[in-house]
Amino acid sequence: MILQRKSDVFFCSLLLGVLLICLMFVDAAVSQRLDWKSSQERRAIVRVLALTDLCLSTEARYTRHPSMADLHTPFQDHPLALDHFPSGAILAPPPHLQPQNLGE
Amino acid sequence: MIRLQNIRKIFNAGQPNEFVALEGVNLSIGSQEATALKGPSGSGKTTLLSLLGCMARPTAGRITVKGREITSLPERFLTEIRRETFGIIFQQFNLIKGITALENVMIPAYPKGEKHASLKRRAMDLLDLLNIAGKASAKVEWLSGGEAQRTAIARALINNPSIIIADEPTAHLDTTLSREFMEIMRQLKKEGKTLLIASHDPIAYESDVIDRIIEMRDGTIVPPADGS
């Protein structure tokens, strides 16, 4: 069937787009299923080694272990020092250190 | 068919460049009649034509089309009437560039939502009638003057209007093509269409296709010698 009208071509490509999205959903579901065991193993390592943080940024203590950090660490060089590590801009202070939660 | 009563049209009312295009125009156009509007530029021909074709509203006065007053109709209804009743051929043809002749012919019918296959067929039939079926898939830039003219005519006919309006149709055509144009007009008149042609070209207004000549000057109709 030759597509004559431009609008038909367009709708077909839209359909293709929706199909692609569905494919992505399917791929995600399948990958999650396949990865399940690996994910459990990762969780086991965390438990066995008693780890508390993801190793995403190793440049500063408070970005390597944000959940263990205290308010002091980013500014330890000097009372008026600014946070000078780039990843500090990305990784915000953990909620339990923020002013509204400090009372706990 | 169309009646104009005490029509006045002023552009830029109240501003320094206020301009009275038409004043005190009274006119009746009969059905299946071919009327020519003659007059120098600035005489109000084009304005009168646009009022007759429901493309503009008069500043004062009343217009009746097929017994129905259209002066104060909202835009939507006016557009519908314009689309169904009138087919317009412009001086510059005004075809949409970059698309084919066939697509150009079909455009006025798009908002109606007619089925594509039947619309396409009707358009092809019209192009065939005007002997340019072979150019259906050519882009309009590649058409010759005569072919573009016929595409413009075909476009004006796609909605099967009862009234054809042509604004200076022969202005950009040589004698041969001008005469050809009037022949096509003769054919359309034979099919029962009403024709309104504004032109200062004698080939147009002196043609035997024309039943009546209306002369215009300075925004008014010059009363004809025989007083009608």
């Binding site: 193993e41 990762r42 438990r47 780890l51 940024s57 | 689309r83 908002p111």
Partner: protein, 384 residues
């Protein structure tokens, strides 16, 4: 039926007119695809990382107790264990010894951690996969293998050499990339930790409901202690990667405004040619609403195409190719960066938000400025 056919006709016309400036419109789609790809990548990455963190950090200790002195974290006396162990609900209390070791050779920071299993094997270390890639900057990468020797500078300016006993699996790099597990003896050789002190304490607690009570009791017994609950850890990572806040929102807003500005600029600059064509269409029988429909399809054709393409490319980029975008952002000045592949995660909410941030504003920004020109008088074309 007529209504659908009308839409198809207007769409036919719109696509035909878009095709007149093929080059420009293709360039437009490419640019928008790129912007959407960026925004979608950020959303996919952050969400996937957040869910990954939520899953694997479920294995984190229920409670970690630190000691704060003058607001700073300090070493915690191990005798605190005795008093804490007596609290009802506490299953076990273990001291943790860990810290950061700066490796001058590679310029990297490693997390050095004592592992009880190695206490019977002094002189051995187990390293993470990121550590195994240890090499001198600017030189070709080497790989540490089992039985290789690694020198460590100690606090007393001597060097102690430890042997690699094993390498942690690369699938766990997200949590272990920079880890070096050592015996307690070796740890204390490298770092001057006096006896009777630890970095912090980890608790095993039976009943999750008692966590808050136990934490309160601990701070009452030891006012200089600070308990960190597993819940705090999970919340930390949920907040970090929540794309509804912080840096990520900034990036998304940037993309959103880029769209609006580009679309508005395009639409307000309706050329004389475009205005003339609108005049012609109105003269031959199109209403203002038909013109606006045409503009709608113009905007939608471009943005929807870019949307689907951008989403697809973002998915490929984030989950199949390793995310090129994010490594420099997260890495910062770090020398070491974990190699990990995120499990793909996608949901309707993300797609809806991206849709409303990109396709919708572009379409609106195409229609609204065209309003003026769409209401042009039909007879204007006669006067041109």
């Amino acid at each position: 039926m007529g209504a659908i056919e009308k839409q198809r006709h207007i769409l036919d016309f719109t696509l035909a007119t878009l095709g007149r400036r093929k080059g420009k419109n293709i360039a437009l789609i490419v640019v928008y695809t790129f912007v959407i790809c960026l925004m979608a990548s950020v959303v996919f990455f952050a969400d996937a990382l957040k869910q990954e963190a939520a899953q694997i950090l479920q294995g984190a200790p229920e409670m970690t107790v630190q000691r704060l002195v003058a607001g700073r974290q300090d070493l915690i006396p191990t005798h605190y264990i005795d008093s804490i162990r007596t609290i009802r609900g506490v299953q076990s209390v273990e001291p943790r010894l860990w810290g950061y070791y700066y490796d001058a050779f590679s310029g990297a920071n490693y997390t050095l951690m004592v592992n009880a299993d190695l206490n019977n094997h002094p002189g051995s270390i187990i390293i993470g996969a990121g550590v195994a890639r240890r090499s001198e900057p600017g030189k070709p990468p080497q790989t540490l293998r089992k039985n290789d020797l690694v020198p460590f500078k100690t606090y007393s300016d001597t060097v102690v050499t430890l042997q690699v006993k094993g390498i942690l699996p690369s699938e766990s790099e997200l949590v272990t990339a920079d880890l070096i597990l050592v015996s307690e003896a070796d740890f204390k050789t490298i770092f001057p930790i006096p006896a009777g002190l630890a970095t912090d304490l980890v608790l095993k607690i039976r009943n999750a409901k008692e966590l808050a009570t136990i934490a309160a009791k601990i701070t009452r017994i030891h006012p200089d202690s600070r308990p960190v609950l597993r819940e705090d850890i999970l919340r930390t990572y949920a907040a970090v990667f929540d794309w509804r806040g912080g840096v990520i929102l900034l990036i998304l807003s940037g993309g959103f405004f880029a769209f609006i500005i580009l679309a508005w600029d395009k639409a307000t600059g309706l050329s004389a040619e475009e205005k003339r064509e609108i005049g012609i269409l109105k003269a031959i029988g199109w209403e203002t609403s038909d013109i606006l429909l045409m503009k709608f399809w113009e905007g939608t054709a471009v943005s929807l195409t870019a949307f689907f393409l951008g989403l697809f490319l973002a998915y490929l980029h984030t989950f199949l190719a390793s995310p090129l975008l994010f490594e420099p952002v997260l890495k910062g000045w770090s020398v070491l960066y974990p190699h990990f592949r995120l499990t793909p995660r996608i949901n309707i909410y993300q797609i809806a938000v991206l849709f409303f941030l990109t396709v919708l504003p572009y379409t609106v920004a195409t229609i609204v400025p065209s309003w003026r020109s769409a209401t042009i008088d039909p007879d204007s074309v006669m006067r041109m």
